[in-house]
Amino acid sequence: MTDDEKLFAWLDGELAPEEAAEMDARVAADPELARLAEQHRKLGNRLSAAFDPIARAQVPEQLLAAARPSGHVIDFQAAKRARRIPSFPQWTALAATLAVGIFVGTIVQQRGSTPIEVQGGKIYAAAALNRALDTQLASAPSGDVRIGVTFRDRTGEICRTFTETASSGLACRSNGRWRVNGLFASPEGQASDYRMAGGMDPNLAALMDSTIAGEPFDAAAEKAAKAGGWK
């Protein structure tokens, strides 16, 4: 081990106690060595200060979705972002794009009805889903669609989360319609588990967290928003 290597191993706590004690003494006796050690200690702290916020930050929903393929995640916003010029292997974005198409197809077939419709590359609520979003209050569930949380997003539009037989999702107002911004198909047989736990699909929760401005509506605010035509 060179002297430099020894100094750094000492800094990193990698020396055996005896060698470390020896290095303590050498650094204490040598101002030049002490200065070098201090510079590198600061560099280490600076690296931690720069990178650690990433490990504390919310993981982007696109990555959360990628880690839960069994959740059959469909996050249209993430898929859209994934299509932006991929600088990493192109199959990544290609796979994401294909996956969206496949899962939408699956859902539409499974339900036997079409709760969503695609127009101009955007996905809107249709039929029973659209009706529930328009009329249902979280406090008065009826039918197969349950409304969860209503809130305003960062652009000021009203958004509502919903749960269906086999999926849950988020829809936001867009030009007088309910645009579906995320739809998460529950794993087979697990739809009720999420509801029993009183929780939301974690992917939906992450999407909501990244969208919401302020607090969710309480019952009165939800009712008032309905009366105001969700504007």
């Binding site: 690296l47 930050a57 959360l64």
Partner: protein, 165 residues
């Protein structure tokens, strides 16, 4: 790590750290998240190769590192190596800005992107991710003396680039 929790749950719990490591290797945040996503996908496809009871973190880090090396060898690499001009210019600007972690992150990522790959991965694993020399030596399949000497060169070069601020 709880061995009884599912592979997916464990991988999910690792995502914040994997993202941080990806930032240590990548030129910018967009590349880092692309690398993280590719790592997640590869890990899920290769899950049969992971032995329950062994450390999923080392295994996942190794996948990320290998994907990064593969990308490094691919043709697009030349472009990746050169930090964009604006980021290059940000290095060594007014040191008062160094208090701002986000600004400093850009500077440090830019400086790290100019380290040779074999030094950069070791700096990221030890100084950013906090692995021990022995763990890194096993993860990368390198003698511990090689890890140690690359770490010396890497951190010395990094200090010269970003200075004492």
């Amino acid at each position: 790590m709880d061995q009884s929790s599912s592979f997916e749950d464990q991988l999910m719990a690792l995502l914040p750290r994997l993202r941080r490591f990806a930032h240590g290797l990548s030129r910018n945040s967009a590349d880092a998240d692309d690398l993280t996503q590719a790592t997640i996908e590869r890990a899920l496809r290769s899950r049969d190769q992971w032995q329950p009871g062994t450390r999923l973190d080392s295994w996942s880090y190794r996948i990320m590192r290998n994907l990064w090396i593969d990308a490094a060898r691919s043709q697009s690499r030349r472009a990746m190596r050169e930090a964009p001009e604006e980021e290059g210019l940000a290095v060594g600007q007014d040191p008062r800005d160094a208090m701002d972690a986000a600004v400093d992150l850009r500077r440090i990522m830019s400086a790290m992107s100019r380290l040779p790959d074999e030094q950069r991965e070791i700096v990221a694993l030890i100084l950013v991710e906090g692995f021990g020399y022995r763990e890194v030596s096993e993860m990368l399949g390198l003698p511990i003396g090689t890890v140690s000497s690359r770490l010396v060169r890497g951190r010395t070069a990094l200090l010269a680039m970003v200075g004492e601020q």
